[in-house]
Amino acid sequence: MGYVAGEFDVIVIGAGHAGCEAALASARMGCETLLLTINLDMVAFMPCNPSIGGPAKGHVVREIDALGGEMGRNIDKTFIQMRMLNTGKGPAVHALRAQADKFSYQHIMKKTIEETPNLTLRQGMAEELIVEDGKCVGIVTKTGAEYRAKAVVVTTGTYLRGKIIMGELMYESGPNNQQPSVRLSASLKEHGLELIRFKTGTPPRVHKDTIDFSKTEIQPGDEKPKFFSYETESSDNEQLPCWLTYTSEKTHQIINDNLHRAPMFSGAIEGTGPRYCPSIEDKIVRFADKPKHQIFLEPEGKNTSEYYVQGLSTSMPEDVQLDILRSIPGLEKVEMMRTGYAIEYDAVIPTQLWPSLETKKIDSLFTAGQINGTSGYEEAAGQGIMAGINAARKVQGKEPVIIGRSQGYIGVMIDDLVTKGTNDPYRLLTSRAEYRLLLRHDNADLRLTPIGYEIGLIPEERYQRFLRKKELVEMEVERLSTTKIKPDDVAEMLASAGSAPLTQGGDILSLLRRPEVTYAHLESVSPSPFELTDEMKEQVEIQIKYAGYIEKQLLQVERLNKMEKKLIPDDINYAEVNGLASEAKQKLSVIRPLSIGQASRVAGVTPADISILLVYLEHYNRVKAARG
């Protein structure tokens, strides 16, 4: 029944947030790319919260944009609320978060994909991988279409053997009652990949007209919104507020009375759920002494009355869900439009991947997104763009691109996944990064745009703009460090900043090290001769204000990089490394780290093991050199 349907460079299975970035990157890098999705109406769909960004996640969106990806631009076009979070804290953790019009979001993304050269978007369910001599060379769909390719990227999200659970009810399904992908899971297993079962969930949606907003607190967007993409300069999007309410004593009572019907506790759910995103029943059991929990009501778009009830993720039976909703102030008379549910799905144990996201078992097969054990649209998209880039580079015979832990949250995430694996769906947190002060929201372009340019995702014109910006910032820092001032010159300015007067003259730059003095203060006494944007001024201020801490972290990075540059040959046989502890031998043989740096992060490998490995490598290299 099969037929030959076409030949591509790269095939991407799944058009969620990972798949869209992967396909766009591959096509933009010049590879003929096929993007397959079970349902064309579900491209870039948001099956859970209608929002993008926040700490660490928002950083990833900036990084995707700096590399030449789409998520930042797409949300900038379709947001219905934009807020900069953590503004009272340090520059490293300022984080942008947007509410999306989830329908516009997917429509605009679909349009972009449809209009991208080299990219073919097609509806179809991939069921089988074609593997020849250990290399993935294509896929077969449910309808018998056989597509050949030089590399395949699998981004199946929660569709892989998906199962929806609500109370006593359980049925096979992808998210939002889509068809699940069942056969592909078996095909992955047949080819030797080990799978695990994870679980996630989503809260109910309610009708706007049945909410009594007067009993809730308004949460408006920022008056002057900032944007995710370095390319977006302005927007006339109208903003909608979110609303805050809380669970009540009655809510907790209802949940406690119905715990016997909760699949979380009855044993019906076997998958491991995320710790950071527990269901409401989980929260109430684990934090029994907390009298109330926050509930945010978020609009799902401009042209819909559906509201997302953030904080109420649940797999309770439908009738209990309604009781729970109506026990919450403001929702007494609410109409539930969609029921919340838990969903179980298959994921690939991510330690089976190289840092390029290619599987170790099957050559030219890449995986990205929730299939790698993560959770979140941004995490998925961050892996998606890397898998797309590396699939394309593989096809083009080039070395993979690997973002280091000191270069981006994308690097932190992928290194964590492939080196340590994960026991529950992985969410990025800023605390996962060792060098948080270097991985800032404001400097994602400085970190990654040169890479994006080099691999062909950043066009020349944008790159020139970036270089100009970088140059201006450097020139301004230089100017401030050489501008001398006398105490009288700045007395008034310092007084207005509430800062102590200067006793002797010096350079104006050092004043910026004072916590209470901002760049704007300096500007009032010494305006810059350069045309600086607000963004550039922010850069200047951060680079000077936190120079001490930044330098400290840079020093650590330098040390790390030395370890990352000590490469481990791929033919190393750990069993033969004399002196390695047996746990280290076993773990290293599985992970097969690329460098000493990565090896040192493998769980169970001690500093003594690393020392022995270093000695072994030196020995190995000398023997090799002696043999010529």
């Binding site: 979070l85 950071y276 989980d282 605390s431 020392s611």
Partner: protein, 459 residues
């Protein structure tokens, strides 16, 4: 890892004479320079030169030890890195003090087992044949260290360090939640709260550091100084106690120029014996060093054995010294009881109690039993209780505790300077990591675990 700077005592401890502290790595010169007071700055010194001077404690500015420092710039050194070797005049206390000061310098840490050799190999100074030996060294020493660490991990000390770490990690988790869940209804982290938590951790570290000294007594023995005028038989006494002939015994006053140490056990009580040069004013420079050293040893001693000759009357110096030692644990040993009496015993009793006077003849090996029982009496009476106490004794642990303390102090200072919490977190985190190093714990995911067990988060 290979590019930081390491330090360790590289001679066997406990032998008299010279001990060498070796420092190797990029910060060897810049790290030692500020604590080495000499005519020349190490930074300007030529390679392969030796310099006389003092190691000073940068916090107090006090001289810690008189030393000779050898400078070898890389690659012409054993490790092929910059190497500074500090030759200390000897004595466990002095050497450990020097190492302690060295390890307080930024960027210098304790060397791992076999690490100097490992570096020498990695930098091409040792040939291939020795690679296996290096591996064995690393493995055996670190296994031993591991078993020791594991023993300690079950002990009372590790419980206290774990509790201390818990205080710090709760603070960290609280900061992290404020950062990663800015809209969550957890208590906003305030400078006052950070200060409070850091202060309480610092107070606990101070308590632990205070035990360092008590722990030292038990682990290293009761620091016992043997003092007296020259030639009263101090070295002979020491030899008798140790049954060995380590110190030079002569009739010429001033021949014992170093503090010589011996470890003995008397009735199960560990004693670390310090034989000292005679305490008196001297014009001989070399000997004066020895005399100074004796005075230092006296300061550090837990127990003082004051030796007097039965056939010499009490001199002015003796009276002064007895007066000085009035409040210390002193046993007066009356030596040479076989010779005619010229000493006024009643006068001695004005300074010390009758029970603290032991009559001996070291030459004829008489009176050792009496000395044994007197020491045992003195320390079994409850002046030193060993049982349920926690002790920090390891130099590495002490330096890590001090480092953690410094980081917490930095964090407190940062709150006063108006530094934002995510930056303060960097200091708090390094305190947590230093404490973790004591236990050999990996940082790993435990912070993330703490965040999710301490706070109720989710969408």
């Amino acid at each position: 890892m290979v590019h930081d700077t390491i330090a360790a005592i590289s001679t066997a401890v406990g032998e008299g004479g010279i001990a060498i502290i070796r420092v190797s790595g990029p910060q060897a010169i810049s790290g030692i320079d500020p604590i080495f007071k000499s005519k020349i700055s190490l930074k300007d010194a030529d390679t392969h030169t030796v310099h006389y001077g003092h190691i000073i404690d940068p916090s107090s500015g006090e001289k810690v030890e008189e030393v000779l420092v050898t400078l070898m710039r890389g690659p012409r050194s054993f490790t092929a890195e910059d190497v500074v070797e500090i030759n200390a005049h000897g004595g466990v206390i002095a050497v450990k003090k020097v190492l302690d000061v060295v390890l307080q310098q930024d960027g210098i840490r304790t060397a791992e087992p076999g690490e100097f050799t490992k570096r020498a190999f990695l930098n091409g100074r040792i040939d291939l044949m020795q690679a296996e030996a290096v591996i064995d060294l690393i493995r055996s020493k670190s296994d031993r260290a591991f078993s020791v660490a594991r023993k300690q991990a079950e002990g009372a000390l590790s419980k206290r360090i774990k509790a201390l770490r818990q205080t710090v990690i709760e603070l960290l988790a609280h900061i992290e939640v404020n950062i990663d869940y800015p809209e969550h209804d957890v208590e906003e982290m305030t400078s006052a709260y950070i200060r409070e938590q850091c202060q309480s951790a610092i107070a606990e570290i101070d308590k632990l550091l205070k035990t360092a000294n008590e722990g030292k007594i038990l682990r290293e023995g009761i620091m016992t100084a043997i003092v007296g005028r020259p030639n009263v038989g101090k070295s002979s006494l020491m030899n008798m106690l140790t049954q060995e002939n380590k110190a030079i015994v002569t009739d010429i006053p001033g021949t014992t120029r170093d503090v010589i140490e011996q470890f003995v056990t008397l009735n199960g009580i560990p004693l670390r014996l310090l034989d000292t040069a005679g305490i008196r004013e001297t014009s001989d420079v070399v000997e004066r060093i020895g005399v100074e050293r004796s005075k230092d040893a006296l300061q550090d001693a837990d127990l003082i054995l004051f030796v007097l000759n039965y056939n010499e009357p009490l001199g002015e110096e003796d009276r002064q010294l007895l007066e000085q030692l009035k409040d210390r644990s002193v046993i007066v040993i009356i030596n040479k009881m076989d010779l005619p009496a010229r000493l006024d015993l009643e006068e001695v009793k004005r300074f010390v109690s009758k029970d603290s006077i032991v009559k001996m003849s070291v030459l004829q090996e008489q009176g050792l039993d009496a000395l044994e029982s007197t020491i045992s009496e003195m320390f079994f009476e409850g002046q030193l209780e060993a049982n349920d106490l926690t002790y920090v004794s390891n130099v590495r642990h002490i330096s890590l505790l001090k480092r953690a303390r410094q980081s917490l102090t930095d964090a407190i200072e940062a709150t006063h300077a108006g530094i934002p919490i995510d930056v303060i977190q960097i200091d708090a985190r390094s305190a947590w990591e230093s404490l973790g190093e004591i236990l050999g714990d990996e940082a790993g995911d435990s912070l993330i675990d703490q965040i999710f067990s301490q706070f109720c988060l989710g969408k």
